[in-house]
């Protein structure tokens, strides 16, 4: 455990005092264009500042990209988005079929070492694998070199987001921080009922599931690692996985 840092320091006190002083004069509201947003800014009682409820009432935020109303719609939107992002979606009926599909991948690509973690969806896949399996466990010492030498990492996820084609992973339930980023290929095993409509829904789900104490890392993965730094030309596999497979069960 780390010793708790002092609650405030001199520099912190100075900066907070500067902030309080600066905010004594209120700023004008931004120039809003839509009536719905204007309605969200209610005039404050008493103070000069308008009280902001910051748009909580608009469930689903009907102005962001669509995430789908029904389960079937969400599956369709998610699949379309993942394919546009150049991720590969494999739809399978059950966990046994997921294990079989991943075995085919391992054989076709000649993966020598595959990494995974303990999870109801991942364990059956790992036990059925023909190649060597590296297990990332909280109880064992973390071996960066062994993980780096793996061809692929197989993880579960917290949620899948239809709206953006994102996969939400966490350090608590998806094998830590490195498993989904260090190996050259990332394979996600998820069930259809893990699909949520929007980024906001996924964050709510994580907050409710981990009430009181968030995992030290929560990450939205949206397609294979990419860069456009050389002449703004898209290249996949900059530092993270070059390929991303989503095995969708159900």
């Amino acid at each position: 455990m780390i010793a708790p840092a002092p609650k405030t320091s001199t520099a912190g006190d100075v900066i907070l005092a500067r902030i309080r002083e600066a905010l004594r004069i209120p700023a004008p509201l931004p120039h809003l264009k839509s009536h719905a947003a204007e309605a969200a800014v209610a005039p404050a009682a008493g103070s000069g500042l308008p009280a902001l409820t910051v748009l909580p009432a608009e469930v689903g935020r009907p102005w962001l990209p669509d995430g789908g109303e029904t389960s079937a719609e969400r599956v369709r939107i998610l699949t379309e988005n993942l394919e546009k992002l150049r991720a590969v979606v494999l739809r399978v009926p059950d966990v046994a079929a997921a294990a079989a599909a991943i075995q085919v991948l391992v054989r076709e690509r000649g993966w020598q070492r595959v990494a995974g973690h303990a999870h109801d969806l991942v364990e059956p896949v790992l036990t059925a694998l023909p190649s060597a399996v590296h297990r990332v466990e909280a109880a064992a010492r973390f071996d960066k070199n062994a993980l780096e030498a793996c061809d692929a990492g197989i993880t579960a996820c917290e949620a899948l987001v239809a709206q953006t084609g994102s996969i939400l992973v966490s350090s608590r339930t998806c094998g830590g921080r490195a498993l989904s980023i260090l190996p050259h290929v990332h394979v996600v095993v998820a069930t259809v009922d893990q699909i949520v409509a929007t980024v906001g829904d996924a964050l709510h789900l994580a907050r409710d599931r981990h009430a009181g104490r968030m995992p030290s890392m929560l990450s939205f993965i949206t397609g294979p690692s990419r860069t456009g730094d050389i002449e703004r030309i898209l290249v996949l596999g900059a530092h993270g996985p070059k390929e991303l497979f989503v095995v969708l069960v159900g």
């Binding site: 840092a5 100075v14 900066i15 909580p56 350090s171 490195a178 949206t222 050389i230 900059a238």
Partner: protein
């Protein structure tokens, strides 16, 4: 006045370099297409901008309440907060942390606040080797240059230059394939992530509700930087605080769409502190440096307070005709483009940096592109006004006085106009010093035969006598 001279000199050189300008335009061409495609997926983009703008407005205007709330939650998760009033204090904090950690190898992901405080130079001076892991920043580090664009750091560099650079520094074989060049950097960097004992990152948002910091990136280098080293140090401006995860869920897609035409940036990661019991990996310590460095001065200006809403998406640079014609280095600032021209006078002083606000056509493309509705082009005007107030130009004052004298006397105004119409040709031929610079790149129109007032009078006469119209 050194900065202004440098700007004028570099801008003049840059506008003549048509090869470079067309290269930059071409590189940005794809951005416009992708951004429009993604914007079209929003059911109401303008409403989404309102929401993003309000989220930032309410956070910045309640910074006194939200920043302490963020700090309390972040510390409760085991993270350590360090406050830095200015650049020097921030550098000292980071160097002290490196010393305490006995750091041997440092890996760094993209962090504009570290550019702002010139951290790399300070670390190198103290003998700490640091490697930039973002591909664009890595290329710029090897070239010994600052970023050209704060989101696309090496967008001005051609692939053959990168191939030569990698050949010289990494011993790689020449190639003209962007993919192969990316893989050379990838192979080089792998070992460095594994061996580093300290990882340094920036931060895009600080979520007060949960005490998490949010980092946005495409390459996975920030994920690796915050996963493998024993110590994670993050540097963030104090204005990055937002209230809650609901606001984040709007800002993340907006940042990606406005900045790079993506539905979401490839990795959007929330860190709440060091590795927790029951987790497989992660750093033992997490430190967050909260940087003021004149941000409270911007906060104290209610008129321009909204420039702290900036989420550094870079959209205003991508659409700016000035940026495209003078290039990123000409600004001489950490933050280039329209938003840089607004905030740099606050960060470094209005007297020396006001010229940036003059370098604008006031077309408003930046304001239209801004996902959080910062009134960028009006702030350029505000800077001009403030500069004129604090250090008025005598020549301009004299000019306005003379105009007042003439405008109050119609006969004098008419006489002046007639004289000007007749002498326009002579002025063009003579090129007096005051007009010389203007005429170097422009031409004067031919003088009209009659004054506006006489043309107007003739037109009114025609109106009252419809038969003569046309």
């Amino acid at each position: 006045m050194l900065a202004k001279k440098q700007f004028l000199r570099d801008a003049a050189a840059h506008v003549r370099d048509t090869g470079h300008r067309s290269f930059v335009r071409k590189a940005l061409g794809g951005y416009h297409t992708n951004r429009d495609l993604q914007k079209a997926r929003y059911r109401d983009w303008e409403h989404a901008r309102d929401a993003a703008s309000l989220a930032k407005w309410s956070a910045v205007n309640r910074l006194d309440e939200l920043l302490p709330r963020f700090v309390a939650n972040f510390e409760a998760n085991g993270g350590q907060v360090h406050w830095a009033r200015d650049a020097e204090e921030a550098r000292t904090i980071v160097l002290d942390l490196l010393r305490a950690a006995k750091a041997k190898a440092i890996i760094k992901s993209k962090c504009m606040t570290s550019e702002e405080i010139h951290l790399n130079a300070a670390m190198e001076k103290d003998g700490y080797g640091v490697v930039e892991s973002d591909l664009g920043e890595f290329i710029q580090q090897l070239r010994g240059e600052p970023p050209y664009h704060f989101v696309f750091p090496c967008m001005h560099v051609r692939r053959d230059e990168i191939s030569d650079l990698f050949g010289k520094h990494l011993g790689s074989a020449p190639t003209d394939s962007p993919e192969e060049l990316t893989m050379i950097a990838r192979r080089h960097m792998r070992r460095l992530y594994v061996d580093a004992d300290v990882g340094i990152t920036g931060a895009n948002f600080l979520v007060a509700e949960t005490g998490q910091i949010s980092i946005t990136e495409n390459e996975g280098n920030a994920r690796l930087t915050a996963a493998l080293p024993r110590i994670h140090i993050s540097i963030s401006g104090i204005e990055k605080v937002i209230e809650n995860l609901d606001d984040l869920s709007v800002l993340l897609p907006m940042l990606a769409t406005a900045g790079a035409g993506q539905p979401m940036t490839c990795y959007n990661t929330l860190y709440s502190g060091p590795r927790q019991p029951g987790e497989c990996d992660g750093p033992e310590e997490m430190h967050l440096v909260l940087l003021d460095n004149q941000r409270t001065a911007i906060l104290a200006d209610p008129e321009q307070r909204d420039s702290l809403h900036c989420i550094r998406c870079g959209a205003c640079l991508n659409v700016c005709p000035i940026f495209k014609n003078v290039g990123g280095f000409t600004y001489g600032t950490t933050y280039q483009g329209p938003i840089g021209s607004v905030i740099t006078p606050h960060l470094r002083g209005l007297a020396d940096w006001n010229h940036l606000s003059g370098a604008s056509s006031l077309c408003g493309a930046c304001t239209d592109a801004c996902p959080v509705r910062i009134d960028i082009h009006h702030h350029l005007l505000h800077n001009r006004r403030n500069a004129a107030r604090t250090a008025p130009s005598r020549l301009e004052k004299l000019g306005h006085r003379l105009f007042v004298v003439a405008a109050r006397r119609p006969w004098l105004f008419a006489a002046g106009g007639a004289m000007f119409r007749r002498s326009l040709g002579v002025l063009k031929a003579l090129r007096p010093p005051l007009l010389k610079a203007w005429l170097a790149t422009r031409d004067l129109p031919p003088a009209p035969a009659r004054s506006f007032r006489s043309q107007w009078a003739a037109r009114q006469e025609g109106r009252s006598n419809p038969a003569s119209v046309r």
